[in-house]
């Protein structure tokens, strides 16, 4: 499945990229699976997306939790807790 990835703020800086188009294998079915899949790249990916680290996720530009199902062409974003206002 082909999906679009977006990264923001400290996560974007740690990964050195703000977006990426990626093809994920069939067993990657949720936003949480995408996080695990990316973590397996090791290095800064394992660190920035580490389990237990405060991280928020969005599916097609809506806040979500790890259980959200992904779909062909969807946009999945990872970013730190928000600090606007």
């Amino acid at each position: 499945m082909n999906i679009q990835l977006r990264f923001f703020a400290s996560i974007r800086e740690a990964l050195g990229t703000g977006q990426e188009a990626v093809s994920v294998p069939a067993h990657v079915q949720t936003v949480g699976d995408v996080r695990t899949f990316l973590r397996a790249r090791g290095g800064v990916w394992a660190e920035a997306l580490a389990e237990g680290r405060a991280l928020r996720m969005a599916y097609n530009q809506q806040m979500t939790d790890a259980s959200a199902r992904i779909s062909e062409g969807c946009e999945v974003a990872f970013f730190p807790p928000v600090t606007g206002g």
């Binding site: 977006r6 923001f8 703020a9 400290s10 680290r53 405060a54 991280l55 928020r56 969005a58 530009q61 809506q62 806040m63 974003a77 970013f79 730190p80 807790p81 928000v82 600090t83 606007g84 206002g85």
Partner: protein, 159 residues
């Protein structure tokens, strides 16, 4: 209902005048402005950079205003949030609400601000004498939203 995400500054008087123009039903206007402090977490702040998630930001703010409208009988609401580089004393955010009576406008304005703090995708990076740092989310902001009956774990429990 208007949402604007912009690098430019805004003028409270002009915005309020436009918000309530030709609407004689309005008996109350409440507004909040957030500004850049020169001190945060014990360090002097010389500059701040505001990043956001274009597209999602506007959707999130639209949703927040819609929820306020569903809870209180308000006539109109305006949210302006600046992005890009800002300096101490600069205005960051404006929330303004009109209603017939003050109670609804006060509550809706505070609700929109509390919601925005933990659910709209903005991030602040501060320049201090010790270098640049991303601002940490605050548990107090999650607690502020909790008083409206909405749970938020934005801060991840970090004090």
């Amino acid at each position: 209902m208007a949402i604007r995400v912009q690098p430019q500054d805004f003028d409270l008087g002009a915005e309020i005048a436009q918000l309530r123009a030709n609407d004689a039903r309005v008996g109350a206007v409440v507004s909040f402005i957030g500004t850049v402090r020169d001190m945060n977490e014990g360090a002097g702040v010389s500059e701040m950079e505001l990043e956001h998630y274009p597209g999602m930001t506007e959707k999130a703010l639209d949703d927040i205003v819609a929820q306020a409208k569903a809870r209180w009988s308000i006539f109109d609401a305006l949210v302006i949030h600046r992005v890009g580089p800002l300096k101490p004393l600069d205005q960051i955010v404006l929330v303004a609400v009109t209603s017939a009576h003050r109670g609804e406008a006060f509550a809706a304005c505070e609700f929109i601000m509390d919601y925005l703090k933990t659910q709209a995708p903005f991030w602040k990076k501060e320049q201090t004498a010790q270098g640049a740092r991303w601002v940490d989310a605050r548990v107090a902001d999650d607690k502020a939203l909790a008083k409206w009956g909405i749970s938020s774990a934005n801060s991840g429990g970090q004090e």
